[in-house]
Subunit: 144 residues, 2 copies
DNA sequence: TTTACCTGTAACAATAACTATTACATGTAA
DNA sequence: TTACATGTAATAGTTATTGTTACAGGTAAA
């Protein structure tokens, strides 16, 4: 099991919009950099737009960031592209047997533990902004 | 996307083996409490056995814990049932375009961030033992 | 107003993982 | 030998993911 690459692609899209901010960042341009189909990009652009991360308009080529780089965290992207639902990173088996002491309590015991683990992961995502990502890409680019 | 319920079921199995330690915990007995097919349980028992968490023998009914409760963490179970591979909680799109400054660096930029998030989640799993789970189930059982 | 090109989106297919199930080989002990 | 357990291969249904074609609808320049 892995979390959908929509998340990584979403980050890629936003980062490239920033890098190409003087130019026109169309779905085809993005698709070429990501190496996927433009429709995949447009679907993701729709999600990013819906979450207020980018501005994009029918008929007009190019997407722009709708917020400051430092105001967009990886968690914002993660939520926007809908890869993991709240409290559902871990799935729990349905309807264990209520006649068993373990069966009737295990869900309530496990759930807060799973939630805590998920929140710890998400906390890391909240601590990283797109500005961090853009700067790191720029640094790697200049070094090499 | 959700992490397979094998993890939750694995915890259920180990917890029930402990609760039923005076009796015989067969795959059928476990399957009844979990509410699934005994073959599903036997596959999981195979994984838990392979990781040294339980003892179970062909032809002989019943599984036993192979370690102290306090010596088994949720992380041990998580690894045993193989729900998430190392460094693969988040998937990253393959082969972005090398002619693009973002395309050729995004993987190296994102990867350590994803790894850090995954490790934070796993750290929580390492901090909880089966003893904690068993005690919590017992407490809930006594309250109600 | 026609043309060219963009975004938005529905429909569909291939793939992979998950879960449940049947069937049966193999091991153990009464 | 019988009864019953674990171990495991094969298979099916379901769902999510990713990619693709097709086309509706918006915009702007010729």
């Amino acid at each position: 099991m892995s979390i959908s690459s929509r998340f990584a692609v979403g980050i890629h899209i936003l980062t490239l919009i920033e890098f190409n901010k003087e130019g026109v960042t169309s779905s085809e341009f993005l698709a070429s950099s990501v190496n996927t189909n433009p429709v995949v990009i447009r679907k993701l652009m729709g999600m990013l737009k819906k979450s207020g991360l980018i501005e994009v308009h029918p008929g007009i080529a190019g997407a722009k960031l709708a917020k400051e780089l430092s105001d967009i965290t990886l968690f914002d992207v993660y939520k926007a592209v809908n890869v993991v639902q709240e409290n559902e990173l871990f799935s729990i088996h349905e309807s264990p047997h209520p006649d068993c002491p373990v069966g009737r309590n295990i869900h309530n015991t496990i759930e807060p533990l799973f939630t805590a683990a998920q929140l710890a992961m998400e906390k890391v995502l909240r601590s990283v902004t797109l500005e961090d990502v853009v700067k790191d890409v720029a640094t790697k680019e200049n070094i090499s």
